[in-house]
């Protein structure tokens, strides 16, 4: 196995995967754990993955591990704090609003939203990561956006300011 190739791949993907994991989990430390576990699983299968799309596999691991964690610990979700918001964004207010808005979603809704709107995956790619069909991606995305519109007006305000 060519370690340097894997190291180069990590260098190119690590930060993006970490940002995805943070949006999914809402916790920087857990995001780091999710990414590290995903990197181990990618390393285990690197000879098979290297010529394909290892980032897609890593994202799949992160999403699924996070959903499993969420099912076990949903009652222990940490609340959003300003101090953490300052560590994840140049705009802590935006970070806090996003974090609170995403906390209103189920794990699957959150995953669809992050994969479609942050990672810019197509509906097909999102379906593949989550192991669901495209129709479910469409409906889950619509439900998630509707829930944010209804329950997170502060997010709408923010979006208005980005225009």
């Amino acid at each position: 196995m060519d370690d340097s190739e894997f190291i180069d791949w990590v260098a190119g993907q690590q930060r993006r995967l970490l940002r995805t994991a943070y949006l999914l989990s809402g916790d920087v430390h857990r995001a780091e754990d999710l990414v590290q576990e995903a990197l181990i699983k990618v390393a285990l299968r690197w000879p098979r993955l290297r010529s394909g799309n290892p980032a897609a596999y890593a994202r799949q691991i992160i999403v699924r591990d996070n959903i499993s964690w969420w099912r076990r610990h949903r009652r222990e979700l940490p609340t959003a704090h300003e101090s953490e918001a300052r560590s994840v964004s140049s705009d802590p207010e935006t970070a806090l609003v996003v974090r609170r808005a995403l906390d209103r979603l189920t794990a699957r809704q959150r995953a669809v939203l992050v994969l479609r709107h942050f990672d810019d995956l197509s509906e097909r790619e999102t379906a593949d990561v989550l192991g669901i069909n495209v129709g479910t991606v469409k409906s889950t995305n619509a439900t998630a956006l509707a829930r944010l519109r209804a329950g997170a007006p502060e997010l709408l305000d923010l979006i208005g300011r980005t225009r």
């Binding site: 190291i7 990197l39 964004s89 979006i159």
Partner: protein, 408 residues
Amino acid sequence: MTDLDLSAVLDRATDGIDPADSPQHAAVSALARARVVRNRRRGLVAGAVAAVLVLVVAVASGVAGTDRSEPPVMPAPTVPAVPDSAVQATWDPAAAGELPQRATVLPTEIAPRAATTVPLPLTSGARLVLADQQERLYLLGEDGTWASTEAPTGSAYVSSLSDDGTMLANAGNGELWVTDVRDGAWRRLDLPPGPAFMWTGLDVTMTWRGDAQLLLRNGGGMLGIVDVEGAGASEADTHDTAQISGVAMVPDGTELLFGEGLEGRVIREIEDGKETRTVVASALGRFRSPLASDTRVAGLVSGIPRDDRPTDHAGVLVLDRTGYAAQAYLPIAGTKYTPGVGIVEISANGVRPMAWLDDETLLLDDSRALGRPWSLVAWDVETGELSLVSSGGSDTWLRAVAGDLVRD
């Protein structure tokens, strides 16, 4: 709310995130951990050699030392009896079709159609494998594609998928074959010592150790190990355990052996080829078809062997991995326990555990009779809630699922 707007906000909300580890350090750490996992899975000789060296050094130190007193022998901890609080309502699998539907990665109707089924290979791993009465195997790919292949042994009954769904094994008629479902080429493998039919009968169960080794348990309670790359086969080291009733792999690579030791019925934990813990489990009876998650292990028992309840139904028992205390017991209707007589072999009235959907939800196969419809049922072991996952027709029956590919 447009896609562009939301994307911009999500981007801004995370623009200050930087990994705590350098990419170099994270990658090297991942590679090192991957090697440990790989070594555990393959049970490298190095681990066994190291264990032997440690033993030799310990023995030599004992001989050379002045203190010849023997260390105190600590009795193995004992699994407590199954408490009443763990026993859930008896479930009648005949009523599976009336359960509420649960959405999972699996389709609600599992039925390969001749017109859209292609020959192996698949482009990715298979979530599950079915068999028909013409000894043909049908694999459901991750992308929903159905592929089929003849069972190379001429018998589709004993077939098994690796947890990642990439490797398929088929045993029968004195032969063992394996294929990577992504290339579809079958390879015949050596069998452990002894008559070939002893390792390929209908009572044989197969457990994947990673995707490189297969553990074969036969009806006589013997355990064999086969290298899938063709490096040979042998009897497995069972660490003084006879009459193996089941073997399970924990996702972290720990192997769980269920069988008879000098202490009585035992559960042994094996890591890197070395026994790390033994628990006396006589209170559980013979534990079969075990299936482990990180925190739990589920299996079949012929009933709860207690004086006050000698005729409990056979069923599915879930143990906590910390001390192997029983957490949940699902009695299956249509079965009766007679003390001293084990009635469960590989299913309880057609019910057997197939995979963990998540840490608290077990996927059960309900295939009561060949030629009748079957179903997959999810059992929430904490709440006792049962739900219908999938239904299959009477012309096929389920042979195996890939644990990693059916998790929620």
